[in-house]
């Protein structure tokens, strides 16, 4: 089944989203944060340029009818990003020493890797976090779960 998000629509929606993001913050700067002109001058100039360019793009698309972009379906990428998103709370809650190996093992098992490969890679990930980054490079990583730190 095709994803409801189509590539052509993405090529239009994303620049509009970027323009809207910048415009909202500039308006917040004027109305809510009440920044001085010196503070707002540069973001406002940049936002103005982005808006003009987005408008120009829009007229171009209307004239040509379509644009050349990657037509690949978004669904697999969204699923992978969701998996990557799972790794973040795992690291935040369980630390790099436990969260990352656990994520690796679970991800591999779900994707039908053998127990041996899953556990070996989880052990490798643990070694990279603890030995390479923790001991050799002396990075003060939060290695262990939140409740025993």
């Amino acid at each position: 089944m095709k994803s409801p998000w189509q590539a052509d629509r993405m090529a239009f929606v994303v620049p509009c989203g970027m323009s809207a993001f910048a415009l909202v913050f500039v308006l917040l700067g004027v109305g809510y944060f009440e920044y001085d002109i010196t503070v707002l001058r540069f973001p406002a100039l940049v936002t103005g340029a982005i808006l003009i360019l987005t408008g120009w793009l829009w007229t171009g698309w209307r004239r040509r009818g379509s644009v050349t972009v990657d037509k690949e379906d978004l669904q697999p990428t969204v699923t992978s990003l969701a998996w990557i998103a799972v790794a973040i709370p795992a690291v935040l809650l369980l630390g790099f020493g436990c969260g990352l190996p656990l994520f690796t093992a679970v991800y591999l098992r779900v994707h039908k890797a053998s127990w041996t490969l899953s556990l070996a890679l989880a052990a490798g990930v643990f070694a990279v976090a603890v030995v390479l980054f923790g001991i050799v490079l002396r990075v003060p990583l939060p290695l262990w779960p939140l409740f025993i730190r």
Partner: protein, 496 residues
């Protein structure tokens, strides 16, 4: 000058210094290969280790590490589309498509040869021009720096595959992201929304990893195991022959290589801008002069040679303001400046006159380290490339481990890890929409510099900032290049 050069050769020929340089090269290559541990983080990690070293040994140690980080980063940029640093992002544009088409060996060979030779050319230019450039750098004031920053982003916008307008939107958006946090001129924290992390604005390392690494990892992880294995078998064959042919291609395109290396060396001289901009400018120049410009971005060797030659040559250029004026030519050079103070040296005009031998020794170290780095990577590249044969669903979590660890290690802040995901989602959207991620990155990197120098210039000159002599020269040059490109486009459209 000759006496100083001879003294410099004697300094780095000392066995103890050579051993230190060799160790530094190996460390630099490891830092370069690990995503997230770029030049800045690598130097920051190593700087505590130079306490107690002889000044020349300590400086050569840091300089050699820094010189080859971009060489190491080019391998992961080509194989996995994951840049080790900002400078390597330009290599991805054509290097990674080449790897996906089964030509990783050619791309790596060309990248290593261009890196090694580019580093040497950069140093030669530095040695020749040190006396002359002192006066040239003094001519680059605030309006010129502002305009050079804008030109850098515009150059990048013209090389994306999605068209100039989308590239410019990307560059502008990158600049807008850079406005979060304390404003340099007034010290007012902008758009921080009550979140302490945002007081310093968005961070560079999570942005790089998010924009470039996460979409690639998501792509790897999204392939079904069987198709990923088939693609990997096709893609990642790296033979000695392909490496050598890639390297030979650099020799066969001397003008492309020399032009890119010279762009790197000269753009690298501009304080605060050159370091990160040079590879993008060299890439844009190569694309605009190529007869097959439309194929750039789909996997062209010239698109690998140009950024790689310039990103190692720029280190020679960046040393000019760093050593000569105490003004860092790039972000990493600011750490190098700190190491001068740790070792009891004072960079600035007096450094070049009092320690000219040391300045030349540093320059020679860059050249030697670049050559050794490439020689070390040639036999290892094939083994590294075999990593690409591992199915995506197995390699993905391992790469993700390095990304998240690298993101945390850059500032020891767990929130950076969260922002890797946020910027990763943004990177995926940009990719799907055909907006140049490199333009967003360059806009973000140059944004603070552009804003600061715009503010200074406006306060000093008002609208007359655009008619200062240096600024006028830049504007005329930009208009001439834009006019030429427009004319060529009209001619090619007419021909079609």
């Amino acid at each position: 000058m000759l006496d100083s050069l001879i003294d410099a050769v004697a300094m780095i020929a000392d066995p103890s210094v050579m051993v230190i340089v060799l160790a530094a090269v190996l460390l630099g290559l490891v830092f370069g290969v690990l995503p997230g541990i770029g030049g800045l983080t690598g130097l920051a990690i190593l700087i505590p280790h130079i306490y107690g070293m002889e000044p020349i040994a300590g400086l050569c140690f840091l300089m050699a590490t820094h010189a080859v980080i971009y060489t190491g980063g080019s391998v992961t940029a080509i194989l996995f589309g994951i840049p080790g640093s900002v400078a390597n992002a330009a290599t991805i544009l054509d290097g990674h498509p080449l790897a996906r088409r089964g030509r990783a060996g050619y791309a790596i060979g060309a990248a290593l040869a261009a890196s090694a030779l580019g580093g040497v050319v950069g140093v030669v230019i530095l040695v020749i021009l040190i006396p002359v450039l002192k006066s040239v750098v003094k001519l680059i004031g605030s309006p010129e720096t502002f305009l050079l920053g804008i030109v850098g982003v515009m150059f990048m916008a013209t090389v994306g595959r999605g068209g100039v307008a989308r590239g410019l939107i990307g560059g502008g958006f990158g600049m807008f992201l850079a406005t979060f946090g304390y404003q340099a001129i007034t010290g007012v924290p902008r758009y921080w929304l009550g979140i302490d992390y945002l007081l310093d604005g968005f961070r560079l390392v999570p942005l790089i990893l998010g924009l470039f690494a996460v979409p690639e990892i998501a792509h790897l992880m999204s392939k079904p195991a069987a198709s990923a294995r088939a693609e990997a078998e096709r893609v990642q064959a790296v033979s000695w022959r392909s490496l050598m042919l890639g390297a030979w291609f650099v020799v066969m395109r001397p003008w492309l290589f020399l032009r890119s290396a010279m762009i790197g060396a000269f753009v690298g001289i501009v304080p605060g801008i050159g370091g990160e901009t040079a590879p993008f400018v060299a890439y844009a120049a190569a694309k605009h002069r190529a007869h097959n410009a439309r194929r750039f971005g789909s996997g062209v060797l010239a698109g690998v040679i140009a950024p790689e030659a310039s990103n190692n040559a720029k280190e020679g250029g960046a040393l000019v303001p760093t050593l000569g004026f105490g003004v860092p030519g790039s972000a990493a050079m600011s750490i190098l400046l700190g190491s001068f103070l740790i070792l009891g040296l004072e960079p600035g005009p007096s450094f070049l006159s009092d320690h000219a031998d040391m300045a030349y020794a540093l320059a020679l170290t860059v050249a030697v380290a670049n050559v050794i780095g490439a020689l070390v990577l040639f036999p290892v590249a094939g083994h590294l490339a075999r990593l690409g044969r591992i199915p995506g669903h197995v390699l993905g979590p391992v790469l993700l481990t390095f990304i998240l660890l690298g993101a945390y290690a850059s500032a020891n802040n767990i929130v950076d890890v969260v922002f890797v995901l946020i910027f990763g989602a943004l990177g995926s959207l940009l990719l799907k929409a055909g907006i140049s991620r490199a333009a967003v990155l360059l806009g973000f990197v140059l944004g603070p510099t552009v804003e600061t120098y715009f503010g200074i210039s406006w306060n000093a000159f008002g609208p007359a900032m655009f008619v200062q002599p240096g600024a006028l020269v830049i504007l005329i040059a930009v208009c001439a290049v834009a006019g030429l490109l427009f004319w060529r486009r009209i001619r090619s459209e007419a021909a079609e």
